[in-house]
Amino acid sequence: MSGQDSWIRAEMGGTKQASVISKPEVLMALLKKAKRPLIIIGHETISDRVRTDILIRMVSEFQKTQRIPILTTSHIAGQVMERGIRLSGVLGSMEIIDRLRDPTWNGCDGNGQYDLVFIAGFSYALGSLLFSALKQNAPQTKVISLDPKYHPHATWSYANMKTDSWKAEIDRLIDLLHSENTHQKMEEIHV
C-alpha cells in the first residue's frame, strides 16, 4: 500500500489510475495546454479547518495569476467571497457535473465548455464519485484533484500525504504561479 491507494480503502474500482502530481510543474504544463480551465471547490474548503487556509490561498493565487473562474458548491459562497475570492457561480456538486458533461454548455460566462477542471474541498467519498462521474461523462476533460488524498478516478491527483507535505507542495505551486516567466506564458495563452 502506498500514497497511491484510494484514501478510503474501499473506494477503489477504477481500471485507470490517476497520474500522481509529482511536482507543480505538472500543473503548469496542464494549464498551458488548457483552453478553458475551471476550479470547483466544495464545502470542506470551509468546514475542514485544516485545509481552509491552504485551499483559499491556492485558489486565490490561481485566480489572480491565471484568471481561472471559480465555482463553489453547497453553501460556502459567502464565506469564500469574504476571503477575497470572486466567484463565477454557485451550483450543486451534481449540477456542475451535469453541465460539464454537456458539450453544448457554454460555461458560466457563455464562452464555452471547460477542458481542465481543478477540484478540491470535498469529502473523500463524495469527491471520489465526482471524479468517477466526470471520468464517465466528460471523458475529454482533464480533471485534477488538489486535495492531499489520492483520487484514482481523477486524471491527475496528489498522492496521499500529510498536511505539511501537501502545504509545501501548494507553496511550491504558488511560487511557480508567481514566477514572472510562467505568468507571461500564461498571459499569451489567455489573450
Binding site: 484514501w7 478510503i8 480503502r9 474501499a10 474500482g13 477504477g14 481500471t15 485507470k16 466544495g42 464545502h43 468546514s47 458548491t73 453547497s74 453553501h75 460556502i76 459562497a77 459567502g78 464565506q79 467571497m81 469574504e82 457561480g89 454557485v90 450543486g92 456538486s93 451534481m94 449540477e95 457535473i97 451535469d98 453541465r99 458533461r101 454537456d102 454548455w105 470535498f122 469529502s123 473523500y124 467519498a125 463524495l126 464519485l129 468517477s132 462521474a133 471520468k135 464517465q136 461523462n137 471523458p139
Partner: protein
C-alpha cells in the same frame, strides 16, 4: 399456505363447467355494487403501460450516471471493464449497466416490502381470518387505500382482498427482476422506467402492509395525537429483564407484549426496540421503548443491557449472533428471510427451547411462529436476566481501560480510512491517551455505528466501543420522546390543506424518510425538520428519520414532537410510522387529487401523477438513505413527480435525475384549459439530487417545493423561504430568482425593493399561470372535457 389452497380451488374450478360460469357473472355484479368510480386506463399496469409517462419525466430529468465501479461482474463472461466507452461481453454500456444496478436495487427493495407484506397478510389471515375488515381510520378515512386504488383499480375491504394485490406485485417484481438478466434490457431510460415501476409497486406494497397491521393490531388510526413514547438508551431500566427487538416485522414483538400482559409481567420487563419494529411496537404499546435507529445496534448491544435479542427481518446487522454472544445474550431469529444459520425450533417445546437458550447450549434459535417467540422470549429473558446480572456483560471499556487502549494507537489512520465519514479517530485517540475523552465523545455524535473501524485497527483497539465509552454521560442522557406513528392522513385533514398546498400557500410538504447513513449524525435531520415546521411547512417523518428527529431537545428541553403538533397541517411534525408508513405520504399526495380535486383515482395513475407533479409541492428528504428499500421508496416518489433529496452518500446510488434550469426549452407544460404550451420555469428543478450539506439540502427543499400551479401568492411565499434560507445559509442572494418569477405578482412583497432591480436586469416577464399538465390527454378543448 391458505393462499395456496385458494388458488388450487380456483384453478380446478376453472376446469369444471356450468355452475362456475354462473359464479363469474354473480361476482361481476358484486364488483359493480362495491364501487361506482369509473375505471381508469391502467388498472394493474405492467411497466410498459406507464412507460410514456416515465419517459416524459426522464426527458426532463435526464439521468446522470455516477459509476461506483468501472466493472460489471454479474456474469461469467466478466468481469468487464465498461470505462472509457467500452462495452461488456454482452454488449452492455456503462449507462445501461449503472441503471441496471439501480433496477436491481429497486427490485430488492420492492421485494423486501412486498414479501414483508405477504408474510404479514398470511400471518394475520391465519390468525384472524380472510374477512377481517381493513380499517385504517374509521370514519375519518374514507379513501383508505389510495395507492391500491390508484394502481390496481380495486378497493380492498378485507385482508383477503389484499392477496389479489400481492399476486400482482409479486408477478411484476419478478418481471422487472428478469429484465436485469444478462442480455435483456439494453436501454438506460428503459431501465429507469422499470425502476420507476418498481418504486410504484413498492409503495403499493408499503400501503398494503401498513393497512394490514393497522387493521389487525389496532395501531393508531390516522391519529394526530398518538401517544408520546420514550426514546433513547437513557430511558431503559436495566434493573429489569430487558428484551431487545430489531427489524421490520412487528408480530413477534407484539406477541412478546401479549404474553407479558397475559402473565402480568407488563411493567416488570422492558421491551426495547431498534428500527421499524420498535416504531411499530410503540404504535401497539406506547410503553415499549425505542432505543434508536439502525445505527444504535452495536452501541446498545455492547452496553450489555439486553438480556435477550429478538431479530426479525430487514436492517438487522449480519453479525448480531456474534455481538449477542459477546454479551452472553441469547438470540431468537424469527424470519425465514434471516434464518441466521440457527436450528429451526419452531415445533419444539418452549420449555426445551428456553432451557437451551438460557444455559447457552445454543447461541440462538430460529422460531418461525410469533406466538411461540412471545412465550420463549419473555421466559428466556426473565431467566437470562437472573444469570446475566451476576456477570460482567457490558463490553464497553471503562474510562481507564479506554485510556490504555488509546495509548496503543500509533496513528496509522487505517480507522479513518475505513470510516465512511473519515472521522479523525487517531487524533481523538491521541487526546484520549492523555485522559481527555472529549474529542472521542464528539465523534460519537457523528458515528453511524458501522463498526468498520474495529476491523481496520491493527492494534486491536475496540474503536466503536471506545466511542461509546467516551460518550458514557451522553449515552445515559439519551432520554427523548417520539410521537407514536399515527398511520394515515385523515380525509378531513386533506380537505383542509389540499387547497393551500395546491395553491402554494402552505409552502410545502417535506417528508423526512429513510435510514441513518447520515454524514454528520442524526441531529441534522431534527434541525431540518424544525426549520421547516417553524416556517409552517408540513413536516412528515417515518422510520429512522422519525427517530432522529426525536433525538433532539430545544432550549426549553422539548423534543420536536413536543414542540410541534402532529396534525397534517402547517407547522406540524407528523410521524406517520415505520418504513411501510411511507405510503401514507405518497397516499396523502394522491388523496389531495382525489379528495380535494375530485379526480378519479381508480386505475388512473398517469393523470394523478401529472396532478401531483404539477401541483403538490412535496419533497422527500432521505438524508441517511442507505438501503435498497430506500432506493425503491424514492423511486415510488419519483414516478409521482415528487423530488427526493439525499445526503452526500446518496450519490452512491449511482445516478441522479437532474433538470437543467438553464435550458428554457425543458420547462414547458400544456395549459389544460387551452392546450397552449406555457413556459413555467424549472419547477421542480430536480427529481433526485444529492446535497453535500444540510445547508444545501435546506435551500434545495425550499426551492424544490415550487410547482407550476402555484398562485402568485403561493409562489411569493415559497420564494420568500427560498431567498431567506439562501441568504442566511449561503451568505449571498440566489442568482436564479428570475426563473421562478413569472410576473411581478410573484415577487415577495417584503423583498420587492431588493429584488426588482435584479429582476429587471434579467428582463422581468409577465407570464400566465396555466392549469398545468404534461399530458395531451388532459387538454380540455381537445378532448371535450377531462373527466
Amino acid at each position: 399456505m391458505n393462499r395456496k389452497n385458494i388458488h388450487i380451488r380456483l384453478s380446478e374450478a376453472k376446469s369444471s363447467t356450468g355452475s362456475i360460469k354462473d359464479l363469474d357473472i354473480k361476482i361481476g355484479k358484486i364488483k359493480g355494487e362495491q364501487w361506482e368510480e369509473k375505471e381508469g386506463p391502467t388498472p394493474f399496469p405492467d411497466h410498459t403501460a406507464l412507460r410514456n409517462w416515465d419517459r416524459m419525466l426522464l426527458t426532463r430529468y435526464k439521468p446522470l450516471y455516477i459509476p461506483f465501479c468501472d466493472l460489471c461482474c454479474l456474469c461469467t463472461y466478466g468481469k468487464c471493464d465498461l470505462s472509457g466507452g467500452k462495452r461488456g461481453a454482452c454488449g452492455i454500456g456503462m449507462e445501461a449497466q449503472q441503471s441496471r444496478i439501480v433496477l436491481l436495487a429497486a427490485c430488492i427493495g420492492a421485494a423486501t416490502h412486498i414479501s414483508h407484506g405477504r408474510h404479514l397478510v398470511d400471518h394475520l389471515i391465519e390468525k384472524m381470518g380472510r374477512r377481517t375488515p381493513i380499517d385504517v381510520g374509521g370514519s375519518n378515512v374514507d379513501v383508505e387505500a389510495p395507492m391500491i386504488r390508484l394502481v390496481c383499480g380495486i378497493k380492498p375491504k378485507t385482508l383477503g382482498d389484499l392477496e389479489t394485490v400481492l399476486d400482482y406485485l409479486e408477478s411484476q417484481v419478478t418481471e422487472l427482476l428478469a429484465a436485469a438478466h444478462t442480455g435483456q434490457e439494453s436501454d438506460p431510460l428503459d431501465f429507469e422506467s422499470k425502476v420507476f415501476h418498481a418504486g410504484m409497486l413498492d409503495h403499493v406494497g408499503l400501503e398494503l402492509a401498513d393497512m394490514a397491521q393497522i387493521s389487525a393490531f389496532n395501531l393508531p388510526k390516522a391519529d394526530p395525537d398518538a401517544a408520546l413514547v420514550e426514546l433513547g438508551l437513557g430511558t431503559i431500566d436495566a434493573e429489569k429483564p430487558v428484551i431487545l427487538v430489531i427489524g421490520h416485522n412487528v408480530p413477534p414483538a407484539i406477541d412478546i407484549i401479549q404474553y407479558s400482559r397475559k402473565h402480568n409481567l407488563s411493567g416488570k420487563i422492558e421491551v426495547t426496540g431498534i428500527c421499524c419494529t420498535a416504531i411499530d411496537l410503540t404504535r401497539f404499546d406506547p410503553n415499549a421503548k425505542i432505543v434508536g435507529p439502525i445505527s444504535w445496534q452495536l452501541r446498545y448491544i455492547r452496553s450489555g443491557v439486553p438480556d435477550l435479542i429478538v431479530v426479525d427481518e430487514q436492517c438487522v446487522r449480519a453479525d448480531l449472533l456474534i455481538e449477542a454472544g459477546n454479551i452472553q445474550a441469547p438470540l431468537i431469529a424469527t424470519s425465514s428471510k434471516n434464518c441466521a444459520g440457527l436450528v429451526d425450533r419452531t415445533d419444539d417445546d418452549p420449555d426445551d427451547i428456553v432451557r437451551d437458550l438460557v444455559s447457552g447450549v445454543v447461541p440462538g434459535v430460529l422460531i418461525l411462529n410469533p406466538l411461540k417467540v412471545g412465550e420463549v422470549a419473555v421466559r428466556a429473558a426473565l431467566e437470562s436476566h437472573e444469570i446475566r446480572k451476576t456477570k460482567k456483560t457490558s463490553i464497553i471499556p471503562t474510562a481507564e481501560e479506554l485510556i490504555e487502549y488509546a495509548k496503543r494507537c500509533g496513528g496509522c489512520m487505517e480507522c479513518t480510512r475505513a470510516c465512511p465519514n473519515e472521522t479523525p479517530l487517531p487524533e481523538a485517540m491521541k487526546q484520549a491517551a492523555t485522559g481527555d475523552l472529549s474529542f472521542l465523545a464528539d465523534i460519537y455524535d457523528t458515528c453511524i455505528g458501522c463498526g468498520r473501524c474495529d476491523d481496520a485497527c491493527n492494534k486491536e483497539i475496540p474503536i466503536h466501543s471506545s466511542l461509546v465509552a467516551a460518550a458514557r454521560e451522553k449515552v445515559l442522557n439519551e432520554k427523548h420522546f417520539v410521537r407514536a406513528g399515527r398511520g394515515a392522513i385523515q380525509d378531513i385533514e386533506i380537505r383542509e390543506v389540499g387547497g393551500p398546498i395546491v395553491l402554494g400557500e402552505i409552502p410545502g410538504v417535506i417528508a423526512f424518510v429513510g435510514c441513518a447513513n447520515f454524514p454528520n449524525g442524526a441531529s441534522e435531520v431534527a434541525e431540518m425538520a424544525r426549520e421547516f415546521a417553524k416556517r409552517r411547512y408540513i413536516a412528515v417523518a417515518t422510520g429512522c428519520s422519525a427517530m432522529a428527529i426525536g433525538m433532539y431537545r430545544n432550549e426549553d428541553g422539548q423534543t420536536p414532537y413536543e414542540e410541534f403538533h402532529g396534525r397534517f397541517d402547517a407547522g406540524g411534525i407528523v410521524n406517520v410510522g415505520s418504513c411501510v408508513s411511507n405510503a401514507h405520504i405518497s397516499g396523502a399526495a394522491i388523496k389531495i387529487a382525489s379528495i380535494f380535486a375530485k379526480r378519479n383515482l381508480r386505475g388512473n395513475y398517469e393523470e394523478i401523477a401529472d396532478y401531483v407533479y404539477n401541483r403538490v409541492g412535496a419533497v422527500g428528504v432521505a438524508w441517511g438513505a442507505m438501503s435498497q428499500k430506500a432506493a425503491a421508496i424514492a423511486a415510488g416518489f419519483w414516478r409521482l413527480g415528487i423530488p427526493v433529496i439525499v445526503g452526500p452518500h446518496g450519490a452512491k446510488y449511482r445516478r441522479m435525475l437532474l433538470g437543467r434550469k438553464d435550458h428554457d426549452e425543458d420547462w414547458y407544460v400544456f395549459d389544460s384549459r387551452t392546450g397552449e404550451k406555457v413556459q413555467v420555469g424549472p419547477v421542480p428543478e430536480h427529481l433526485f439530487v444529492t446535497a453535500e450539506t444540510k445547508e444545501e439540502a435546506m435551500v434545495l427543499i425550499a426551492k424544490l417545493c415550487m410547482r407550476p400551479n402555484d398562485t402568485s401568492r403561493g409562489r411569493s411565499m415559497k420564494l420568500t423561504h427560498y431567498i431567506d434560507l439562501y441568504k442566511r445559509l449561503y451568505g449571498i442572494m440566489p442568482d436564479d430568482l428570475h426563473l421562478f418569477i413569472r410576473s411581478p405578482a410573484d415577487i415577495p412583497i417584503t423583498m420587492k425593493e431588493e429584488l426588482l432591480p435584479i429582476l429587471q436586469e434579467r428582463g422581468l416577464k409577465d407570464r400566465i399561470i396555466p392549469d398545468p399538465t404534461l399530458l395531451k390527454s388532459q387538454i380540455r378543448t381537445q378532448m371535450g372535457g377531462r373527466s
